[in-house]
């Protein structure tokens, strides 16, 4: 049964007290829960949050399913999100995403066998002037080539 750490629980309670509408704490709390569960959220975590937050499960679930930054299945230690929207596509973002998948031996959304990487194609990340780019966990890496992107990933242990 999933449970937040003591610190995570305290953070959720802080979020609940922070807003005039309790529901506003759902998104911040999902972030806290996802971080504590290696980057993804399970149905039992929604049940748990519902009890902790005293918000109906369905309400939390609809928010969870709506936003793309909450993962519904396990991801690797490094979530590699390659932008393939127009400005990046014009500068080779799609080819870079394919190259990364090929080199890591995975399809989009799969976790590498060593558990280190998941590669996703994502929509515009606001890095259009420094295309092509990828976001690895919280960090942007810009002005890449397929080779420089792979060099960066190979350095991530």
């Amino acid at each position: 049964m999933f449970q937040l750490s003591e610190q995570g629980l305290a953070e959720v309670k802080k979020e609940l007290a922070r807003y005039e509408a309790k529901d506003s704490a759902i998104i911040p709390s999902l972030y806290i829960a996802q971080k504590e569960n290696n980057g993804f959220i399970t149905p039992e975590m929604i049940t748990y949050l519902s009890k902790v937050m005293d918000i109906p499960e369905a309400r939390i679930n609809e928010v969870f399913k709506f936003y793309t930054m909450f993962n519904q299945k396990p991801v690797g230690k490094y979530h590699v999100q390659v932008c393939t929207n127009i400005s990046c596509a014009l500068e080779g973002g799609r080819e870079m995403a394919s190259h990364i998948c090929h080199e890591l031996g995975v399809k989009y959304g799969e976790v590498t066998s060593d558990g280190r990487f998941t590669v996703s194609k994502v929509e515009c990340l606001g890095s259009c002037g420094t295309a092509p780019m990828m976001q690895v966990n919280d960090t942007y890496h810009e002005k890449l080539t397929p080779e420089s992107a792979m060099n960066l990933l190979r350095g991530m242990k």
Binding site: D23, S24, Y67, M69, S98, E123, G126
Partner: protein
């Protein structure tokens, strides 16, 4: 003409990010002066400046503020920092390099509209800008610039950052309000407009990062100084995000009315060696595309671009050279809008998916000639039929790409491969 840096003059200085660095360049000098004015004086000055919303819609800022009911109800100031429009990356730079500039603009704006609580809604992927903002807000509280009785003025204003979670539609102001309320980020039917019934059903003003940052300049130097830049109807400067097939992409602040070709050739360093300009999307991915001939006639202001059947939008200029296949590029855009439709309105939910399926069947060599007209028919039936403008945003690129580059679409259908690249979609990308 060249760049005119009213807002971005000190962006090259790393210390401008901090309170001390911002103050060293005159930051927070306008705030005490503003707090001695009557709120209506600030609203009048912003109205006189001609400032229009810099997030995309271009609605006059002072007029928007004037829609707030005068019944003394609590009201909110929300900064829209969701910045999800493909091609746009100016607000990110503003939050990273000058967070205090935004904070000062928000305090002055909040004082003008009588709000004691503000939120900056930032797209979830912008982790570093959020860190910059949180650090700056902490500094501002410690210096008595936020919180109770700001600078002894008797005015209270609390400011917080809210992290979104990945949904383009939250850039639409009522979608953003839904998200801040802890709901799915689905837009709400208007009227009532947020100024009357917004966050938690209270009067709410939603302004873009760049808009709020400009308020400080307007109050500091006056509306007339601001109006010296730009055109009669499109006053001031604007940050343009230049990307795509140019030599030196980036953000550039130029007066409104600046020639689009100059932005590409001077600020952007021109086209890459051996390449020719083919097309430009002038205002973010939802703006109708311009051909190279049209680009030569276009100025970067609301009226000039409207005259060419397109729009200034968020100021994202996406340059496409002659090596690009327009069918392929439209496929990127239809996929984006199908992915980002919130699903609430049938014409958008079904229409975006349908457009994307038709485009990809053409790209995969299964297209029929009648599909080209079907694209136009579907897009025509999506315009103006939904709660928000995402449906229009999806339809407009389709109509402009297909109309202006029809020969490429017909060739692709007949031959099953790109007229420009000479290859199939699978050969291009797999």
């Amino acid at each position: 003409m060249a760049e005119t840096k009213l807002l971005t003059e000190f962006y090259h200085l790393p210390e401008f990010q901090t309170l001390a660095g911002y103050k060293a360049k005159g930051g927070y000098e306008t705030l005490p002066k503003a707090l001695k004015l009557q709120p209506q004086q600030i609203i009048d000055e912003v109205k006189a400046s001609g400032l229009r919303g810099r997030g995309g819609a271009g609605f006059p800022t002072g007029m928007k503020w004037g829609f707030l009911p005068k019944n003394g109800e609590p009201r909110y100031l929300l900064c829209n920092a969701d910045e999800g429009e493909p091609g746009t990356f100016k607000d990110r730079m503003m939050m990273e390099r000058a967070p205090h500039q935004l904070i000062e603009g928000m305090i002055i704006s909040a004082f003008a509209i009588g709000s004691n609580k503000g939120y900056i809604y930032v797209r979830g992927e912008y982790v570093y800008p959020i860190e910059c903002l949180n650090k700056a807000i902490k500094e501002a509280y410690a210096a008595g610039l936020l919180g109770k009785n700001i600078l002894g003025s008797g005015f209270d204003f609390d400011l917080d950052v809210y992290r979104g979670a990945g949904a383009y539609i939250c850039g639409e102001e009522t979608g953003m309000i839904s998200s801040l309320e802890g709901l799915k980020g689905q837009p709400k039917l208007k009227p009532p407009f947020p100024a009357v019934q917004g966050y938690l059903r209270k009067p709410t003003i939603v302004n873009n990062v760049e808009t709020l940052a400009a308020v400080t300049y307007i109050i500091r130097d006056g509306a007339q100084a601001y109006r010296k830049n730009g055109t009669e109807k499109s006053a001031g400067t604007k940050l343009f995000s230049l990307s795509g097939n140019v030599m030196t992409p980036g953000n550039f602040e130029v007066p409104l009315g600046y020639p689009l070709m100059d932005l590409i050739m001077k600020e952007g360093g021109g086209m890459k060696p051996g390449r020719k300009l083919k097309a430009v999307i002038p205002g973010g991915s939802s703006a109708p595309v311009l051909t190279a001939d049209e680009v030569a006639k276009a100025n970067l202001d609301y009226e000039s671009l409207a005259g060419l059947g397109t729009m200034l939008g968020s100021g994202a200029v996406i340059v496409i050279d002659d090596s690009q296949c327009m069918v392929d590029m439209l496929g990127v855009l239809t996929h984006f809008y199908a992915h980002e439709s919130c699903g609430q309105c049938t014409p958008c939910r079904e229409g975006t998916g349908w457009l994307n399926k038709i485009l990809h069947s053409i790209l995969e060599g299964r297209g029929r000639l009648q599909d080209i007209d079907l694209l136009i028919k579907v897009a025509d039936n999506m315009k103006g039929k939904t709660i928000c403008a995402l449906s229009d945003a999806a339809a407009l690129p389709v109509l402009s790409f297909v109309t202006k580059f029809r020969d490429e679409f017909e060739f692709y259908v007949r031959e099953g491969r790109s007229k420009v690249k000479g290859t199939t979609y699978a050969e291009m990308h797999h």
